[in-house]
Symmetry: D2
Subunit: 148 residues, 4 copies
């Protein structure tokens, strides 16, 4: 399953650009890691851009959902930014709350990691995903696929 | 005012990377344009990534808010994805609904533009922003500032 | 159509208790009125309770949706409270933004009316509704139905 | 603290009408119970009305927040309805995620209880609350106050 989700991750050009790394993805749970770059991920004050916070939360929700429901499309997304997103790397944890036939309800949290400090919760989000009906391919990703 | 917001836009490294262009920003309204790139902005199926949809909606909300309330930080963001975000370029329109002293309530819509077709509403969002108390600089952007 | 939605309104026991009155409901739009009662609708400071604000916004969204999509169930609801909800009566306006086959996206605004003052926007909301597949009955409501 | 929150609960006329009972409220957590009445709490199909789901989630969030931040006003509220809200009684659990000076971020879950069955999660929500600056009175509620 993890290989299938890694292959799915590699299909998304933004995920490759951002360097999203799938650490875990099974049984309705996921974990996604990204290393901070100040050259192209910041908002005006130099914190992680809200769009990247959203991208990580939404993707973690999606990678939790696909383990139970196959391919999905984001329908509704909401997040609260709890603290300035400052760190060397960021880790998002996604969870399926309910995998319905027509809608999958998920939540996620984003933690900022800094050298020598405990991970800090900087944002939390909720995503509603709609299954497309297409099953997640469980065959191994093709050799040479990007981002693996 | 437009020059000040363009200068603010140029401070954000993600905005420069994405090529966000501020078309309008005054009196609680804003308009933001971005040209699509399939090399680094897509989700797995090749549509605009939900994180970029969020980035555009949230930024348009912020650039509407700064015209009335000075510098702001995103606190809560929500969006609905109404249709697959497919287009050659995308334009977000932001609006202030209420500029309170402690919270600024804003909404935005994202339109996909395709050659030979009417713009299509693909997403709508709501952002709550918190004023930092720092006024928006109204001096002209420094000569040579990036992206403008 | 208005009679059908009035009949639907009369089926909901909370709507009868609250005295919801359907003023308009057609073509993806609705208007819902309620007279304020301080005896059972208030929060601790005497304003309209957030639950009643939600009830009016969500119901106005639903009554806009049924005109296009038949019976629906609320799936996701969000609202922002823009000002203390104080008034003699409240009017909610609902609008369909997109009536999809699996999800209907709607928005609503709530206005407080006070004698001698302009209506004041006190809250805005967004509801995602899921069609149940059951068409809205367009026959007249049965004689003697409650709340009419 | 529990007595103070019970006194606050008794000040809200909707809470008295609905029979909200504060079971727990301390250290950023709360628990709120309500007995179902089909005569005035239902939507058209006879389930608990979305407005009452919102009222319980929002109130549980508020009663978690007041334990840390004094009096608060709801600013933004969102919820997902996960399953039809059918039960003999309903219990909402509220939690503070972050108690900031200007905004308090909270979440809540609503469980439906039915005789002979396990409690069922029917809805989850998020509320952003703004402290009014007024401390929660910690004196005992007046003798004879309603709803205790």
């Amino acid at each position: 399953m993890l290989d299938s989700v890694k292959a799915l991750n590699a299909l998304a050009s933004l995920n490759r650009w951002a360097g999203f790394e799938v650490i875990r993805s099974d049984s309705g749970e996921s974990e996604l890691r990204m290393v901070w770059r100040d050259t192209d991920m910041g908002q005006y004050a130099g914190f992680l851009h809200a769009g990247m916070i959203a991208a990580m939360l939404d993707t973690a929700c999606g990678f939790a959902a696909v383990t139970l429901s196959g391919h999905v499309m984001a329908s509704n997304f909401s997040m609260s930014c709890l603290a300035p997103a400052v760190g060397n790397e960021f880790v998002a944890h996604g969870h399926v709350v309910k995998a319905g036939r027509r809608q999958v309800f998920t939540t996620a949290e984003l933690y900022a990691h800094r050298a020598g400090a405990d991970p800090k919760l900087v944002a939390m989000g909720t995503t509603i995903l709609v299954p497309t009906g297409e099953p997640l391919s469980v065959s191994p990703a093709p050799a040479g696929s990007a981002g693996r």
